[in-house]
Symmetry: C2
Subunit: 209 residues, 2 copies
Amino acid sequence: MSETLRPLRRNEIRQQNEALICQAAEKVFAEAGFGGATMQLIADVAGLPKANLHYYFPTKEHLYRRVVRDIFEIWLQAAEAMDSAPGPVEGIGAYIEAKMEISRRHPDGSKVWAYEVMHGAPVIQDYLETTLRDWTSGRVRLIERWIAEGKMARVDPEHLLYMLWAATQHYADFGHQIATLNGQPLTDADWQRATDSVKTMILRGIGAV
Amino acid sequence: MSETLRPLRRNEIRQQNEALICQAAEKVFAEAGFGGATMQLIADVAGLPKANLHYYFPTKEHLYRRVVRDIFEIWLQAAEAMDSAPGPVEGIGAYIEAKMEISRRHPDGSKVWAYEVMHGAPVIQDYLETTLRDWTSGRVRLIERWIAEGKMARVDPEHLLYMLWAATQHYADFGHQIATLNGQPLTDADWQRATDSVKTMILRGIGAV
DNA sequence: GTCTATACACTGATAGAC
DNA sequence: GTCTATCAGTGTATAGAC
């Protein structure tokens, strides 16, 4: 009887521990990079013996790969905010809000992604060449349609996307610099003002308002 | 006679070797981060025995500190392009051009800076709190003056600066991602188009054109 | 599935001959 | 100022008891 339940229980334990380890790994990888992170420190943060990490993830690189892939999924989900919008004001406005919210809620994930890309994307190069490229192509066509319909100025769609990524992720990746210049970490009101500033400047910059 | 010349010669040798080592270190730190970089690899890239690095820079951290400080100086020099301009079109336009040129010519330096800030600026925290904060305060006042003079829209000066940094440095820090989406590294014409795009969107975004 | 002990490789740094 | 040899410390990964 209990024999038939054991597989499910094991899966639950695995899922729970993997999530715990991933959470700790994201934090440590963001703070130290791949080379600077140690399995020992990740284990300490997760509150597990170091050997358990190797039980769930055979190597440090496997664990890192998993963390980066999780972040990539979050980026893609935010992208949906841009679709099914009547025009750039709603679509790009919603995309900026979604990406700013991610920068606020998942700054470590954003940093790990930045770290990975900065170092030549050794782990997720295939994602860049497939999923991200496909997504980008689709949004370029969407922006070109908005331009053709006279809903925004004639801007280079690719460089608009780069600016959207840069402006929003900057608040996560360079959050420490911003907090230092601000004198303290951004408050709720600060984040609202930041989001409004980015939205206002970009929407006006593309001639949508 | 030759005795009096020796100190100069030694200084020249030191200067030359330090520059060689810094150049190699910038490349390796950018590609691997502080933790991932090894003195052995930096020595190999510089074409020197590892022990020589420790002769010129006592520890790995001393070498890293020097590399980050060099980059910081380049940032500050670019900032001068913004001053002594009659208005935002010339001032911010020139600043964008200068920063895009740095992203193109010193992508490794930009990455080391990004890496350092992303990880909490353990080495250059004092620069953030003194030099960068002072510089920022000065430019905020400059932008506020332009706004008061009706030369641009009423935008939040701090967030405009963040957007300038983000948009320009993105082409260095995320250059690999951009090259992948572009199908190849940016050409001269691509860089020109990128610079024009950033200038056009931001200058229109702040109501300066 | 969990954890202790350990093998094995590598790193930063130094000593000391040249 | 240059370079070989080497040490002490640490890292990843695993073996094996529980």
